[in-house]
Each structure stands twice: as C-alpha cells, then as structure tokens.
Assembly symmetry: C2
Homo-oligomer: 659 residues x 2
C-alpha cells in the first residue's frame, strides 16, 4: 500500500486505473442508462447495523406493513375496485391524486422485497398490483378520480387534475417492482399507460392531440426511469418534452405549477417546492442521459441558488403554508417553515442525481443534512405517525390547527403523500450512499455495512452520527491495480483525522479536494482505514439576511441539528429562553431517551421580561424594551431535531437567542 | 376660567356638572340606544382641513364614485339583476358573498351623502338601492349566490355560505342610508331580511327551525345597530343569541369560524382575524346595550391579549396568509404579515365601541395607530388602488404572487371586501374621533375641525401628524357650568406641554390620568388651549418574544410608523442595510414627496456580506457568520408606512437591523 504523489482531483478522469465500476445498483432507483454521461455511477450498500438500520428495520416492521390497512381504510383501494367495476359506492378521498398513495406504497414495498423476502408483503404487493391492473382502462389510461368522478373526461384539467403525476408514481412503482422482483405485471401496466400518454402528448406539429404538461411534475423523472428499465428511447424523449414545455404558459404561467419560466432560464427555485424539486430531478436525469449541458448548468445554478438562499438549516424546503411553496430569498421562517416531508425526499432524489452527474461532494452534504434532519423528522420513532410539515419552532401557547399541517404527529393525512414517500426512501436508502467510477469507490454517507461497486467491497463499522469514527476494511479488491477510496469530508466538519495503514493525516495534510478525501492505493483485502470526524457540538449562525434568526444560534453536532423541547425544560416555556454562547457545550449520551440519543447540554437562562401592559413595543435602548438581564439560570438540554414531537405536546425551538 | 382642585378621575361620574352630551352623532355608526350603559357617547366632528380631510376628499372625489363602475364590471350588480329576474346570464364572481361589496359601497355612499349633497351619488344610491330591493325575495331572503347558483337552497351551508354575513352588511348599509337620508327604502329591505332571519334562527326550544350561526360574524353587530335604529329589542336579542352560540361546535368547532370556544371563556383572539374582530365588536355592542358585565370583561381581556401578543407595530392584525388568521402569541412575521385591510377596519370598529363602553384612552391609542398605519396603507394616495394584505417587509428579489394577496397595489380584488370597507370607514371617520359624557367632551383623535357634543363645540387647528401642536378654541359652551375638556395624550408620546389660558403644564404636572389630560373649567367662548405633543422621531424595539424583529428597531414619529423603500436607496436593495442606532435621527418635510410627507433621515450602512458559497449557515462567532463590519455608509430615508407602494415596485422594510 503506497500513497501516490498526487490524488486524482476529479473523479472519473483517472485514465490509468482499471475500471472497477459495473452494472451494480440494479435493484435501486436511478440505474443509469448505457449512454449516461455521469461522473459517478450508483454503488450499492448493504446496511446491516447502526442508526439507519434501526430506522429501516422500523420501516420494514411497522411502516410498510401498515400501508395496506391504511390504504383500505382511507378508501384508496376501494377507488381502484370501483374503477375496476369490482365494487360499488363513491370515490373516497378529497383529492384527484389519491392513487399515488397506493403507487408509492407499492414502490416502497418493492424496494423492501428486494432486500428481504417476506411472503405476507409479497402477497399484499401481488394483490394490490392486480387491483391496479384491473382498474386500468383498455387503452392504458388509469386514474380513479377521472374514471369514477369525472366520467372518463381526460386531460381537460392538467393544472389540477394530476393525471400525469399519478402516471409518474405508477411508473416509478412499476420500475421498482420490476427491478426488485423481475416480474412484469406492474411494469406492463405502467408501460401501457406510458404508451397511452406518449400517444396523446406531444409538441405542436407532432400529430399528437395534446400539447401539455401536468401541473405537478413527477412523470418526467419517472419516464427517465422507465427508459432506463426498458431501454425505450421514446420514454426519455417524452420526459424531455415535458420538462421543456414547463414555463411556457401552457398552464397559465404560474410559478406554482412550474410554468412561469423555462427551467433553462430560471435563476432560483420557485413555486410549489415538491413540484419544483421533482422537475429538477428530471432535469438532472435528462442532463445525465442526454449529455444536455445547458440543462446541467441550469440544474447546478438552481441548486446553488436554492441552498444559498432558500434552505432551512434542517435541509427543509418550502417557506409558505399557502401554496406549499418556496418563499423569497432568505425568507426562512421558523414557526411557519413548511418544509414538507415530501420536499425533503424530493431534495434527496434531486441531489443524488446531481451527485452522480457531477461527482461533487456538496450534493451529498445536503443529502446527509436532509436525511438526518428535515427528512427523518417526518416519521415518528415508532414508525406509526407522521409530520407533513416540519417547522423549526413551535411557540409557547401554540394553538395547533390539526389536520395535515399540524405540528403534532398524525396517524395519516387527508393528503397522504408524505408517509408512503418516507417508506419508499427508507426502503431504498442504501442506494443513495455510495458510488463508483472508473477510478474507485466513493463513500457519500457513513453507515455500518458493506459498500460495493461490484468489483470492490469495503466494509464500514461506525456508531455514526453519535460518534465520528468510521472504520473501513477492504474486503474485495481487484488485485494489483490501484484505485481510489474517496471519503466525503462533510461540509460541517472542521476537524478530522484519517489513519490509512501506518499513515495518519489530518485536515492540514490530508489529500482532500472539494470535499473528497481521496486515498489512492493498491489495496489488499484486510486493509484498514479509520476516519475520525470531529463531531464536537457547535453553535451555528446564519447569513444576516435570514431575518428570522437574527441574534440566534442553533446547536449542531455532526450532521445533526438540535432543538429544545419544552418537556425537557420544566417550569416554563421556551420563548423566554436565552442561550449563553460563551459557555461550553457538553455532550451526554442518553440510551434511555428517544430510542437512544446524544443530547447536548448548554447553559442558558430564562429572561425576565417586564410587563409592558397592552403594548409590546417600546423605545429602543431602554430596559423596558426587553434588554436581556441575567434572568434565572437554566440548563438547556438539546435533542436531535429528528426526534422531536415524540413525547408530550409542547413548544420546540431550533434557533435560540443569545441575548 | 379656573382650574378646579381635582379633575374628575373617571369620565361619566361627574355628578356636579351639567349634562352636556345629547343625541348627537346620529348620522354616524354606533348611535347608542336609550338604555346603553357606556362611559361615553359618540360626539361628532366636522373635519374641514388637514391630513384626514385630504384623505376624505380623495375618498369622496375618487374612491366612492368609482364604486358603481367597478361593481358593474365585476358583476355584482349583474347578480342583483339576475336575482331580480331583470337580466339573463350567469352569476359573476368567485364567492358567495359578493353582494357585500355592494352593501359596503352603499354604506360608504350613505355616510358620504350625510356630509355633502351630491346628486350623482344620490342617484347611484337610489338606483342600486332599488336593485337590491328588486332582488329580495318576497319573504325577505336575499342572497344572489344562493338565489341564482344554489336554486334557493338556504342556510344549508352556514359554515361557508355567508348568508348572514351578507345580511349583516345589508343591515349596516340600511342603517347608514336611513340615518343619512331619512329615507326608508333600504331600511325596509334590511328589516324584512332581519325579520326573516329572526323567524328562522333561534335556540333549541324556541320553535325556530334553525339553531345556527354564520361562519363569518358580522350580522351580530349589524343587528345591534338595527336595534339602535329601530328600537326593536328583538334584533338586539337575536344579536345576543348569535354571539353566544359561537364556540359550541355548531359549525364543527373550528377557530376559523369563531366556533372553537365561547367568547366568554376565550383567553386570546384566534382564528380568522376579521371574523374574530367583527364578533368582538358585537360583544362590545351587547355589553354596552345590555350591561352584560361578563361579556365586557371578556372583550376587555381579549383586547388586552390581542394588543399585547398578536398586533403588529402598524396596528395590523393577522399573521397567516392561509386562513387569514391570527397566529400564536408573539408570532408577528414581517414579510408574511397578513394584516388584512379589513382587519384594521374591524379593529377600529371594535376598539371604538370599547372606548365608548369603558372610557379608557388606550382603545383610541390603538385606533390612532391603526388609522395612520395599518389601515391607511390599504388605499393608494390617489384613491384608486388597494392592498388587501399589508406586509411590513418586501424582500429584495421578491417574487410577487399577484392576485388579492399581492404586495403590489391592485385596482380591484377577486375578493373585493377591502376597498368598499375603506370607503365606508373614511366616509364615517368623523364619528370615531370624539365623545362626550355628563362631565364634558373627550377628544380622542386630533384633526382640524369642530368637535361637538351638541352643547359644547371646540374648534381645533393642527398640522397633525406632521406637527405635534393642536390649538383648541372653545366656540360654544353652556354658560357658567364647569365641564371637562379631555385630551388624549397618545401612548407613544413621552413629552408634551399644554397651555390653557395663562397656565402651562408639562408631563410632570399636567392632570393626566390613564392617558387623558383633563381640563375642567368654566369655559367661555374664545378660550384657548394649545397642546404640544412631542413628536421627535424615535426608535422602537419589541418584546424579545417577537422573534421576527430580534436585533431590529423601527422608526416612528408621532403616530406614524416609518419604513424604508428601495426606491429611496439607489445602489442596492434593503436586506443588507443596517441602521446605526447611535446616530441621531433627522426630520425633513418633503411637500413634493408622496402628497407631502415628513421623512426621517437616519445613518446606516450597507453590510458587506462574505460569499459563503452554497450554504448560508456557518459557525457562530466567526466573521464568516455575518458579523457586521463597517460596510459602506448610506443615508437612510424613511417614509411613513401608509405611503409605501405608491411608486415603483421594490423592496420595503419597517424593522431595521442595528448590527
């Protein structure tokens, strides 16, 4: 094992090393097509212990199995039976897109089956797949709302109808089902629908009857996946057509529907967050599969603008409750952070595609932050209750509106998009963690398990995110050729050490470029690398243009954003709490608490606030104006944000005033 | 003229002085009934010059006259003709309550006619009144949406139908029309509808077919006014029934509809702001007319809670765009301040009733703040364009959604509730300025004109709010009896002087109690009082629980809240601006600007913000985290908030960071 003079700075450009990437990741999302021009190709990871394995185990044991019952009681399956002529009654549900809850569940269950055989689950999948097939009309069309409620009227309300959105989730489910089981039933349904869509939609002059797009993007990225699964180029072309017809006023020109400006010209993300992000996932897919440089540049530009100006600390996206949309730059409210769970998922999907396309580590930085915070908060620790919106603050005296946008966890939603979306991401999480290129293996996220590019396998052991140490052991390696093991040094990490055999580097001398620590060696089985990421708790401040958090800091540790919950601070609420930023932060692991979390303990106090009578505003600079006095000292116990709202209701804060 | 040893501390309890209040204010809203138990009775004011006269003149010349044309083009009048069987076609408008736009316009026009004869306006009022009468059904029911669209189906959708809300505005218009013109036509229509409502609605056991309330309160306060105008006690009883049936789940128990908790038990305002405020106006009316002490206490409690925790600096109310509702305590966002113009109007209406009921000055403090800021911003300087929502910030790079909730002024709205509401308040403004009791005259708001209780008349001359001096001359006084001239010392005022004949007081020795400066004298015609309110510009800070403005101050001067507009600060936006709170504020009157405003000039700078790349969060305490450096000095020009959005589009801020 020897250290070369210079590590290759750009992945994928290592001409001298043997190709060690192969057709792996076949049972996960984003299987790149044969002509794809991506810096990286997805590698697979077998997670077998640790933090994420526990979440995936809950998802497998509680999350996914509860799906059929919930879909039955909410009426989604009833609607399919109605459409199939196998039941009587009325359409159930408040929205025209409730079929997608079924499809997302089928996708989740399929990814799950790819990991572990489960006869009960397989039977449910078979039964529901058959229901979907029965509901499909003979020409391929399938949408229970339009079939039942609208008397078969089709594509007349593309702005609100969600027909292609539903088609998209059907296609994604079918691709997952086919990849996972090898069986054709659901893929046949999806192809039939996709072929129908292809026969209907096309640009002027194409001879197709409708030049249109769906108000809710999703079919675009799904069609790219269908192309990847089937090799049929026309699905890719159709995806490209849909992506590029957004922004031309076909739906009235609203940002909400991603119709105000063409993606290629846009300068920042806007409109409905999930719609924007699914569309951008498709843009990344298309840039990858068609080498469309303009689309790639647009996607890079929009990702940069989004993260720099419209992303909450948790990775959460979407600042407005009304219209579920992005706000203005730096408009990042706390109590009204929308941060829909689906937007976090869509962000992961988009960023992963960007990571593969570009090879840049920052995309996986955002994925990590999102997974551990804005995404994971969306599901309760027991896997049974959900958050649709993920605020960064719940005030003292909060009056909860209930319903889908509640700050209290809910068993299911009227618009139940998020729960099966969580299920499908957890069930396919192992496919978002590593990649390979001709030069080696890149480890994007740290878990306990086996990362494999097909030709090389590296085992990792870690108690991440509670500890910063990850120990890697090379298990399989193709003989005498050198290759590069690339480890992502997280953007949050200010201090690390790595031991590679007898050598040790730290942040000053390690071969790090653009977030990748690159270890190029002629590896042998049994070679060890130990990465120690400094995860001392830290206080984080925001760009001063983020008005909502002026004068505040947040507690973070490793990839985790922390928050205070009222229940840990008896004797009052949280809105009068001040953190003393001059005092050190302490760490306390609490195996008993919230499934086992490391808490961060900080010094604070309860501000004494003078009674101002009826008017809360007063001359600046007077004590009356609320200048902080010493107040009563109070020990602050911060828990990971993902674990909030798993105990009694109460207030919560991520950002804490310092004076 | 002699100063008595002690000024009466509580208005209405001066047994020794002659009654000098009489049946005045008859041509304005809130004419108290004969059994009313109020501390004060409304007095009338003839505004004849100055700040508010200019606004009222614009309202008379531009605002109100444009009404019929707009109501015609928006289809409101067409709907009435349809309902009358005098036209063919379809219902116009997106909502079931568009009739209220007509009614509010009729009310505005009636108040206007009470002040100045206008043949054209009178003819429009006659024509539209006849239309309304023709549209009414034979049993008194009137609602064009239900008559045209719903085939006469009545009271089946009290949660959303707005039938009684429409009835309420019809009644208010009719009372105004009758008071202003003495003519019975519209009052007959309103009584017929009210009688119909009274025949339908009542508590269980009353024999009435429906025990219900309207999702949007308004009929309650209107019925009290109808009682006042007609003397029919059953209208008052019906109002009391409706008020008390809120909060019992008749509409499903939602706060939005004011149905979560009975008003008598509520601890803070909640739900849809305008609905809450109209209901509270009715509560104050009922407490006044029925001496219901519990209702009074509830209204006082809720007013206190609202102002202390849920009111923006501008007097604006309502923190959420979705559901147009109040937020949690201290949830007072800037860019998403909803602050519906109608909520400001409803707040004035409620607070005026509280001022009369209690005699306390603080209610008129809020009225003043609301009138000069949160209300007046709702109409453009030219009287032709409107704001439905009144944010306290528009960010650099703002993407405006357009539509009713735009931060750009609009000619008319899809939901056009606000414009005619502004018209009616401006046309009746003179009735919210002064009151009388047995002991004298109370001047709540300062204008140039004549305040009269019927037996005493005091003329005032002032350039308020640009100057703080108000010169009063007693014009009429009932001979040798002493009486008290009470002048409100505004809550914002830290320093004042008053000259009364040869005597001069300042804040240290003036007979001020609870916001009232009370001058008890045996007045003679020609007696002069000069009040000098200190209106030096000031910086204001908020209670530290108002997270949205931590580290910020606002500029105020007199009753005016100020803001920065981008157009006055070339060379950049506003989001990087920092105000230097250590430097003095200067005042510059600009007769050329925005119809003539006094600007406040402050020292500030443009913060240099380091480029953080893609992530706007960084370790606290580093310069990277946006610690303010000196930046480029910039002179800040603040304009009154009410005058914003009258020039080119751009960003705007009320609250300014100080570091």
């Amino acid at each position: 094992m020897s250290r070369p003079d210079s590590a290759p700075p750009v992945p994928g450009l290592t001409a001298s090393s043997a190709r060690i990437d192969g057709p792996v990741g076949a049972v996960g999302p984003v299987r790149l097509g044969p002509g794809a021009r991506a810096a990286l190709r997805p590698a697979t990871t077998g997670i077998d212990a640790g933090f994420w394995q526990a979440r995936r185990e809950t998802n497998a044991r509680v999350g996914i199995p509860q799906g059929p019952g919930l879909l039955e009681s909410a009426g989604n399956l009833h609607n399919l039976r109605l459409a199939a002529g196998a039941a009587e009654g009325e359409y159930q549900g408040a929205y025209p897109f409730v079929d997608t809850d079924v499809y997302k569940w089928l996708e989740a269950a399929s990814w799950q089956l790819a990991q572990a055989p489960d006869d009960t689950l397989a039977a449910d999948v078979d039964r529901i797949t058959a229901l979907v097939a029965d509901a499909q009309q003979s020409d391929g069309y399938l949408n229970t709302w339009f079939q039942i409620v609208k008397g078969g009227e089709r594509y007349q309300d593309l702005r609100w109808g969600h027909e292609l959105y539903c088609a998209g989730h059907l296609i994604q489910a079918a691709v997952a089902h086919h990849r996972a089981t090898g069986r054709p039933e659901l893929l046949d349904v999806a192809r039939k629908f996709a072929d129908h869509v292809d026969s209907v939609f096309g640009p002027p002059g194409s001879g197709k009857p409708v030049d249109g797009i769906d108000g809710h993007p999703e079919v675009e990225t799904a069609l790219v996946e269908l192309y990847r699964e089937t090799g049929e180029r026309r699905y890719l072309d159709l995806a490209g057509y849909f992506v590029d017809r957004h922004g031309h006023g076909l739906l009235g020109g609203e940002a909400y529907c991603q119709d105000r400006v063409p993606l290629r010209e846009a300068t920042n993300v806007e409109g409905h967050a999930v719609r924007q992000l699914y569309l951008l996932a498709a843009a990344a897919d298309l840039a990858t599969e068609t080498a469309d440089a303009e689309l790639r540049v647009a996607a890079e530009r929009l990702w940069q603008a989004m993260t720099a100006t419209k992303t909450h600390l948790t990775g959460g996206l979407g600042a407005h409750h009304d219209w579920e949309d992005f706000g203005d730059p730096y408009e990042l409210p706390n109590e009204r952070a929308y941060c829909e769970t689906c937007a976090a998922i869509a962000s992961v999907q988009w960023s992963w595609r960007m990571a593969l396309l570009t090879g840049e580590a920052r995309y996986s930085d955002l994925i990590e932050r999102t997974l551990f915070n804005g995404f994971l908060a969306g599901v309760s620790l027991d896997g049974e209750r959900w958050l649709y919106v993920n605020p960064l603050q719940v005030r003292d005296g909060h009056t909860d509106p209930g319903g889908d946008q509640s700050a209290r966890r809910t068993r299911w939603f009227r618009c139940a998009c998020c729960p099966p979306n969580v299920m499908r991401l957890l069930a396919s999480l192992e496919h978002y963690l590593a990649s390979s290129d001709a030069g080696g293996l890149q480890i994007h996220q740290y878990v306990t398990g086996r990362y494999s590019s097909g030709q090389v396998t590296v085992r990792a052991e870690t108690d991440y995110p509670w500890e910063g140490t990850v120990a890697f052991t090379v298990e399989e390696t193709p003989g005498e050729s050198p290759w590069t093991l690339s480890l992502r040094i997280p953007q949050w990490c200010r201090d690390f050490r790595v031991r590679c055999g007898q050598e040790t580097y730290d942040g000053n001398d390690a071969p790090v470029a653009d977030g990748w620590l690159r270890l190029t060696r002629t590896w042998s089985p049994g070679d060890r690398v130990v990465l120690e990421l400094g995860i001392e708790p830290r206080l984080t401040a925001a760009d001063p243009r983020v008005d909502a958090v002026r004068g505040c800091v947040a507690i973070e540790r490793g990839p985790l954003v922390y928050c205070l919950e009222q229940t840990d601070h008896p004797g009052g609420g949280l809105d009068d709490i001040v953190l003393d930023a001059t005092r050190p932060l302490a760490v306390k692991h609490r195996p008993d608490l919230l499934g086992g979390v490391t808490t961060v303990v900080a010094a604070g106090r309860r501000r004494r606030i003078p009674d101002r009578g009826w008017w809360p505003y007063s001359p600046a600079g007077t004590t009356e104006a609320g200048a902080a006095d010493d107040g009563e000292p109070v020990e602050l116990t911060a828990i990971p944000y993902y674990a909030w709202a798993n105990r009694e209701d109460g207030s919560m804060r991520v950002w804490l005033p310092t004076s």
